[in-house]
Symmetry: C2
Subunit: 400 residues, 2 copies
């Protein structure tokens, strides 16, 4: 592959210089770099950061680009789950097409890593996973995608789901998912034992949706922590949402965060606007590795969201009452490098030797870049330009 | 003034028809309308709604278009207030220029009514008000602007502020403002008596910032309700934020909302992402007239926000866990017609005889229009096109 030399960029907001990417990795950062035969790009003085990471999304759910979906419901989590499961086929929600639309826009907006859950249920079997695997293959040059086999309709409640999860992990799903072992599965011991058993069998990490609030969530989290230690899975377990760490009692939350950090459990947060969410600042101060995610975008659950991690970072930042530049810089790190680290991948930042994944962003400073609504001028994956001025620019990849 | 005939629009999402505006008011809505000599616009099948209303903002605060401001602080409300008051002059924050930038963008995004607070303090005297009055005059054809004389640094705490408020109201401020009579002014009786005395003297309505949480806020709110009844000011008093109505106790909040409705006190909410906010659905169900507002945009307080009421509506909708189409329609009404009504102005919606204020919006349905991020194709104020494709289009008005 040709070298890529991007001239006149500001790495992490520093003064303007060049960056050379060779064989997919950053070879040099400095002034007046030269590389014979390299593809040359002009960065026009824009700030460069590592690519963004959407560490919690559902590429199999969006209705983006389809006719407006008027059938959204209120009601319980179970109602929303049932509405979606029963709507997919009548709606014609083709997972490959829809996940392409969703993921391509994430790439256009500077995303280089995605962790996406995919529903595994006894109605749809593995068909949704198949659609998403096709998308991962189609976009392999643009984005690194981890797929979580996610028992959206319950693991214990619907017999046959465990076996489907087992098959999904054999087929190429990277991560064992789970959903509210207490409040949804109604059997925390059974549910968690099953999740960890699958992880052990397949040698794969775990990422459990935990919406459970307050003490119920804390109880389930304690059970997750205990199993993480017992099975030596430190660094391989993630908890998504983890609203219980947003409890208002600091005397309960502080020690819990310490336990999460000790077990090296990763937390994936979306900054849910209408829920109690764990403080990003406090989690980072406790040493927890945190990723941010856009979650579902305009799906049968809700109309909200944009396939853009800076949009999501703003939601997380507002939710966490971040104001100062240093807070916005922490936020941007969590939306990019920190999220990749939380996914269990190499994430050294923009330094020589690092993966050649970067995006240019609009703005005078890193803090400004978080809030400025503007297309990403250039997105680079492993030393190859994949998007330009907010549009996919990878040969053979077209928005469906 | 020439008549304006807009062809091929969908009023409130209905089937395509035409709308005729004559002498600043809607003269007819129907199919195949004709009007000799009228200016003709093609609506291209877009949905038309009444113009949006930003009922709570601070046009005198934004740093938009200035160099990135890195000096934001954490700390108490008092720290943020002091930081702003001490920064205005060193920063070169010219209120006329900045409020033009802010208000023109609101207009470009379909806003036809603005209620803006302006700081009145003993450091700046009436100079900030003067800048904003100039902006109101410059944009008189594009937007109706109510200016609230706002004692940002305290009414009781800084002697001389009352007299400045009195002058501001004589100079052209439309509304008497106030700020946390208990927690900031530390003298709820003195502060509220002063505010209501100014309102009585000038015959002007009231709009009080009430950030006070929980029981303290409820206490202050009860005092506001009592004075509203005692002075016969039903319909003329507004409370902005009113976080206390976001208390988690429905047995306390329900009856309080009923009292607010009985006194016809208007509530202006921004859906503050990191605060407990009153439920929009519950307030409307209780019969309270509610306006939404963008609040400060990228000012010395915080980096967040966009000068766009649909952007704000999305924040309010997510905060209130709105999902269904009927909820999004309620939200859109609060962001437009409902807000104008809460400001005390005529707001019948898009019907013959109504003021000729409308904006076209992108989207297949009203609900879709709330979430779709796209420029407003056409904005009309009193029968005159004021913005087109998201850009101001009013002769003589240029973005500074």
């Amino acid at each position: 592959m040709q070298d890529l030399l991007i001239r006149n960029i500001r790495p992490m907001g520093a003064e303007a210089q060049d960056i050379l990417i060779r064989a997919g990795r950053i070879a040099a950062i400095g002034k007046g770099l030269a590389a014979e035969g390299a593809t040359i790009e002009d960065g026009a003085g824009a700030i460069a950061i590592p690519t963004l990471a959407d560490t919690h999304t559902h590429l199999d759910k969006t209705t983006w680009g389809m006719p407006w979906y008027p059938g959204r419901k209120g009601g319980s989590l179970q109602d929303l789950i049932d509405n979606e499961r029963n709507s997919r086929i009548p709606l014609g929600l083709d997972v490959h097409r829809q996940s392409m639309r969703h993921a391509i826009q994430l790439v256009e907006n500077g995303t280089g890593h995605i962790r996406s859950h995919v529903d595994i249920d006894t109605d749809h079997g593995l068909s949704l996973l198949e659609g998403k695997l096709a998308t991962r293959t189609a976009l392999a040059d643009a984005v690194d995608m981890q797929i979580v086999a996610f028992p959206q309709s319950g693991l214990m409640k619907r017999p046959g789901t465990y076996e489907l999860m087992d098959e999904a992990l054999a087929m190429g799903a990277d991560v064992v998912g789970g959903l509210d072992p207490s409040s949804m599965d109604r059997d925390p011991k059974g549910s968690l034992d099953a999740i960890f058993r699958l992880a052990e069998k397949h040698g794969k990490p775990i990422d459990i949706h935990l919406h459970e609030y307050g003490e119920l969530g804390a109880f389930t989290l304690e059970e997750i922590i205990a199993r993480t230690h017992a099975l030596g899975m430190q660094g391989l377990v993630g908890v998504s949402h983890c609203f219980c760490l947003g409890m208002p009692d600091p005397l309960r939350v502080g020690p819990l965060m310490e336990e999460v950090a000790k077990a090296d459990i990763r937390i994936f947060t979306t900054g849910h606007p209408s829920a109690e969410v764990p403080s990003l600042q406090d989690m980072r101060a406790a040493g927890i590795k945190v990723g941010l995610g856009c979650d579902g975008i305009r799906d049968t659950w809700g109309p909200w969201g944009q396939p853009d991690m800076l949009h999501r970072a703003r939601i997380v930042g507002m939710k966490n009452r971040m104001r100062r530049d240093d807070e916005l810089e922490l936020l941007l790190d969590a939306a990019s490098r920190g999220g990749v680290e939380a996914m269990g991948l190499e994430a050294p930042g923009l330094v020589p030797g690092a993966p050649g994944d970067l995006t240019l962003v609009a703005g005078e400073t890193l803090a400004h870049a978080v809030v400025e609504e503007a297309p990403r001028p250039l997105v680079v994956k492993r030393g190859r330009v994949v998007a330009r001025a907010g549009r996919i620019a990878l040969p053979g990849v077209v928005m469906p």
